[in-house]
């Protein structure tokens, strides 16, 4: 099954993403290109805040398509993920049928597409025109049962509503699935997908990301920010800062009008980078001078 492809080479993919201010490395560009060419879902794993969800957003705007997002959570079921019936209107319809004297015909009347409420998955499959990009976010939060349901959906791109029949996507939509690894996703699902592990970026790439996303941050400051973040990632923290924290911090520093990174500023804004009290107090207690020195060296 080959989905509609807008790009004919890997470089085009990378360029298109870059125009959406998403800096992808070569491996990601290749994987994404293949996912589109082969019509397979892209399964993205990585630490929090490395830009997993952003891939889908950038892809959707690069393709000029709508993004349909399904945020997973425990207890997610067919009624919230795929479709539901509009019960109040169905009941009214029965009344109407009754008053018209067709009460025995009610069943046929209420189970029609008019009363079907489409949820993200069905919506992605039945949408008119060029297929939207489907983002299934944080699949690890959903239950195993839901994964099993996805298996069927992702291999045939069809949904069966028992009372109504089967909907099938004319053109399968590009699908991006993300996982934070709070539990292991079943292998059966992974093997239907192309797998990509996003690591923390190298200093050069992180600098490029900063320049793309926040062009207003002066380069000197950007370098200092990246140096500090990279150094923190090398440390034994409970939760290491992701790229989104880097961006937040750079924004925070710019908002504060910081030109030079010094110990007080670093200490005051540490909460933007680190989200656990023990990490914050550890860094505050014995890493500030070293971090500031590294920031100074980076300029």
């Amino acid at each position: 099954m080959v989905s509609e492809v807008a790009w004919s080479s890997i470089d085009e993919v990378a360029d298109a993403l870059a125009r959406q201010r998403y800096v992808a490395d070569r491996a990601l560009a290749v994987t994404l290109y293949l996912a589109l060419r082969l019509g397979k879902p892209l399964f993205v794993e990585g630490e929090a805040g490395v830009g997993k969800t952003e891939i889908a957003k950038a892809l959707a705007s690069a393709l000029g398509r709508r993004l349909i997002r399904l945020q997973c959570y425990e207890g997610l079921d067919v009624a919230t993920a795929v479709y539901d019936w509009d019960y109040p209107r169905q009941i009214l319809e029965i009344r109407l049928a009754e008053s018209e004297g067709h009460a025995d015909n009610a069943r046929g009347r209420i189970y029609s597409e008019r009363f079907l409420i489409k949820r993200p998955l069905l919506e992605a499959i039945t949408s008119e025109g060029p297929p939207p990009v489907l983002l299934i976010d944080e699949i690890d939060r959903a239950d195993e049962e839901f994964e099993a349901y996805l298996l069927e959906l992702l291999s045939d791109f069809q949904v069966t509503v028992p009372e109504l029949g089967t909907f099938r996507a004319a053109v399968p939509p590009p699908v991006v699935i993300t996982s934070n690894r709070t539990r292991e996703v079943h292998d059966a699902l992974k093997r239907r997908c192309l797998y990509h592990w996003i690591d923390y970026p190298t200093p050069e790439r992180e600098l490029a990301i900063l320049a793309r996303r926040l062009p207003d941050v002066p380069e000197r400051l950007a370098r200092a920010v990246v140096a500090v973040v990279q150094s923190l990632r090398g440390d034994d923290l409970f939760k290491r800062p992701g790229v989104s924290e880097t961006l937040d911090w750079a924004m925070a520093l710019t908002a504060l009008g910081t030109r030079e990174l010094d110990e007080p500023t670093l200490s005051e804004t540490l909460g933007v980078l680190l989200k656990y009290e023990e990490d914050v107090s550890r860094v505050r207690a014995d890493m500030l001078p070293q971090l500031v020195a590294e920031a100074a060296r980076a300029r």
């Binding site: 209420i110 192309l194 409970f238």
Partner: protein
């Protein structure tokens, strides 16, 4: 699909990966070929990315994949002689290099002893209260059999998914409507739904240091029984380092599983650094295995060689991130025992339960305690009430 010869060459990679013990099946290999057909085969970097995307599905395998891919690409481009295939073997592990106490114990119980064991099992009333450390080899085997047969239930919590039930706390509109069609559209019979109970994930962290020696084997038998009768069970051993042994314990045969673990775990019967091992657990594993209200069984005697202050901090974090932190302590059952060592006091103040684990009776008590709990909010009792057991 690439031409025949190219395909044959490409298929060497899945083979090499299998030899490096990566789970690559025919379906993945096919996906790999299909992917390569879409790209420029002469760009090594792209071929690597395509292979990664199709042949690997686990970040833990990425390093081995990259090493194997290097070998593959060298072979393909004739940078090394094809006969030299020794390089892609995974590095030798400790198997065979470490003396295995489990092996020794497992093998010194030949069939006469087993018969003896059955006799001993039938009189298991005596056995129930006997300290594991004082048991004879036959009695141990009996105790192991007993533990393997126990049906464990570490407790259920309320799930989020709902299903139909007669006395549910919410309504199933879909079913109600369908039912109402039979009564001319009048919803006379309300159909209900209720939350389905879900087994809580269980995490066992078992101390395998020297001081735990008399207990470890039986504790692992117990854990093996957990693994088979309970849904999600993760098992780690703790000594001077933390080792994940979940996969080993999934095999059906307990003896084989235990001897493999004994040879895998490098710090078997060595020293104890509980704080450091717990720290490793908190950093690397807690987010992945403690989701959904997990119960943690920490099996240790609390003999800590490391820093007791650090132990308090790590135990506290572990307690905060788990639904219930149960400390199974072989020493707790011995008469006149009190948690006096720094490590034991640290653990006693930062665990939800401190239960005896030196007799079968103690373990049964634990099983009951676990089965009863599981619903509602975590129990965080005041430290002063803790050492009563």
């Amino acid at each position: 699909m690439p031409a025949d010869r190219t395909a044959r060459n490409l298929l060497v990679l899945p083979r090499l990966l299998r030899r490096a013990q990566l789970p690559v099946d025919a379906g993945r290999a096919r996906a790999f070929l299909a992917a390569v057909a879409e790209i420029d085969v002469w760009r090594e970097e792209d071929v690597r990315a395509a292979a990664r995307a199709t042949l690997v599905a686990n970040p833990a395998d990425l390093a081995r994949f990259d090493a194997t891919f290097d070998v593959f690409i060298d072979l393909l481009l004739g940078r090394v002689r094809p006969v030299d295939t020794g390089a892609q073997r995974p590095p030798l592990d400790a198997r065979g290099l470490v003396a295995s106490p489990l092996d020794a114990r497992g093998h010194d119980a030949p069939s006469p002893a087993r018969r003896e064991a059955h006799r001993a099992a039938s009189s298991h009333e005596v056995l129930r209260t006997k300290d594991f450390a004082k048991m004879s080899s036959a009695e141990r085997t009996a105790a192991a059999t007993f533990l393997e047969r126990l049906v464990w239930s570490p407790g259920f919590r309320k799930g989020r998914r709902r299903r139909r039930s007669r006395r549910g706390d919410s309504y199933d509109l879909r079913a109600t409507l369908r039912r109402s069609l039979r009564t001319l559209g009048e919803p006379l019979f309300l159909q209900r739904r209720s939350a389905r109970p879900r087994p809580r994930p269980l995490v066992v962290i078992c101390d395998v240091s020297g001081s735990m020696e008399p207990y470890v084997r039986l504790m692992l038998h117990m854990t093996h029984a957990f693994t088979r009768s309970w849904g999600r069970v993760e098992v780690f051993t703790l000594g001077t380092r933390l080792t994940r042994v979940t996969r080993r314990l999934r095999q059906r045969r307990a003896d084989a599983a235990l001897s493999q673990i004994a040879s895998d775990v490098r710090d078997w019967s060595g020293g104890t650094r509980i704080a450091e091992s717990l720290r490793a657990f908190n950093r690397i594993w807690s987010r992945r295995v403690l989701g959904r209200g997990a119960i943690v069984l920490l099996v240790t005697d609390g003999w800590e060689q490391g820093d007791a202050v650090a132990l308090v901090a790590e135990a506290e974090r572990l307690q905060r991130t788990s639904y219930r932190l149960v400390w199974l302590d072989p020493l707790a059952g011995t008469p006149g025992y009190a948690a006096v060592s720094a490590g034991a006091r640290a653990l006693a103040s930062r665990t939800d339960d401190h239960l005896a684990a030196n007799t079968l009776q103690g373990l049964e008590g634990m099983a009951d305690a676990l089965a009863g709990g599981g619903r509602g909010r975590p129990v965080r009792r005041a430290a002063s009430h803790r050492d009563r057991i």
